[in-house]
Symmetry: C2
Subunit: 308 residues, 2 copies
Amino acid sequence: MAAVSSSDFAPPPVWVEEAARSMEKFARDHGALGTRVVLITSGGTKVPLESRTVRFLDNFSSGRRGSASAEYFVQAGYAVIFLHRHRSMYPYSRRYSNLNWMDALTLGPQSSGEQVQVDRSLVPGIVGILQEYRAMKESGRLLPVEFNTLSDYLHLLQAAAQALSPLGSNAMFYLAAAVSDFYIPASEMPEHKIQSSSGPLQLTMKMVPKMLSPLVKDWAPKAFVISFKLETDPSILIERARKALATYQHQVVIANVLDSRRSYVVVVTNTTESRLSVSEEEDRLGVEIEEKIIKDLASRHTNFLECQ
Amino acid sequence: MAAVSSSDFAPPPVWVEEAARSMEKFARDHGALGTRVVLITSGGTKVPLESRTVRFLDNFSSGRRGSASAEYFVQAGYAVIFLHRHRSMYPYSRRYSNLNWMDALTLGPQSSGEQVQVDRSLVPGIVGILQEYRAMKESGRLLPVEFNTLSDYLHLLQAAAQALSPLGSNAMFYLAAAVSDFYIPASEMPEHKIQSSSGPLQLTMKMVPKMLSPLVKDWAPKAFVISFKLETDPSILIERARKALATYQHQVVIANVLDSRRSYVVVVTNTTESRLSVSEEEDRLGVEIEEKIIKDLASRHTNFLECQ
């Protein structure tokens, strides 16, 4: 378990320890009820270039897939640890992520004591979505945990894996976050803002240790583990997914291409390749591909449990 | 004006041309009324590392300073072009940037036809702030324009400068955006996602041309121009601010240190250094340093106009 505690990364801050305890309690409580628990990771990681950070490397990810998946996992009966990038999309509120709420609120008549109301013509479906959000909160089956930097993420992933390990095969990992492959070790990072007057910037970034390896081997060896493979070049997609399965020995890779990721994915296992897609007609009706992905995975998880 | 149109950057997309026309009309209309017009830039720029972008370099900036400043400039009688990073903080709604609106909304009684209301205990001051937001919108004195990448930003800055140039000294530039100093030229950028299996990442980034130079010399030579200097090392702050004034020959540098930027800045001109700060007592009362900065700058702008 030395991978993350290496001196290359900042030591875990106190709030990580607190989050670790919350995740342990959450897993224990839901595990005791026989509920399956999934860890969803969502959003991109921030990789600082300076220790007092002005500049950082980031990965393209709005957190749309992870936050949508959280909704469908809760609906499918899972308890969800939602490990997400600070300010990335969040279950249910993601549906209004382009809305400026200042535009959507109106002042009611004075007689009502100046109620502030939502203009429902500007916020379609708000009543139903608010009810679903409330139901999710009241069920107690969503535990949100935030990260910002790559270092936060790595510490929290390890803590989450340790929290879920006692659940054995009832635990699922759904690793949808866009985690940086590269970083600058703490020991090689300049303290202060890099001065532009020093000329062109030369950066040498080390490769981030692949956490999937200790996760599958040591941290939660009985769990059902899904990773994601996002490429921009469709021609190398399936080959890269197969290579990841061979290397890490986990159960499923969801393979997708940047441009079509909202309408088409391939669910790759050691022996199968299943294509899932959302047609234009379904898209118009509001069907999301995450609904199909989660249905597929929940069923595979059931088979996985039966084979243990 | 060749700086931005160089082949190092993507050519301006169609929406930039549209934004340019909106800015021209806005400047012309307000200029005709004798209103001073300020261009505020706000938020960080995204610098893609791949042309189908998965990874990018970013600058730390929530857009808090720019969005707060926009409010105080409107209050001071200015018309404001608010050139800001997509999803960065926005005037007024910034005050609720940590709020999940799903938590703040409640369903009213069935008899009222299921009104959705704001729980005002969770959203302090909402009535007053909503009124100020409405007043700002109705005044027509805020034109929001969005950017995402460094390339968007550079094209839009040039377009804004050309739009404001006819206003002469009535135009102000308040350049609070955290603009990257480095980029990878379009011609040297890989098309596809950089493969982590290729080993450690070596990046060589060119220096971004300093737009302040053509802005002051050619694009809007009569305008009142304010740039920002953010450092993490206080010992080099004033020297760096003075150097910028000497190099670009503009009017004001607002110098600030990362850790204390919300409570302390130095307004540096060729001949003066004025310290502005917010005391702990003022902070408790909700006083923001941007209110003091804008009051100071509006008065300097008046003097500047009288000296022309």
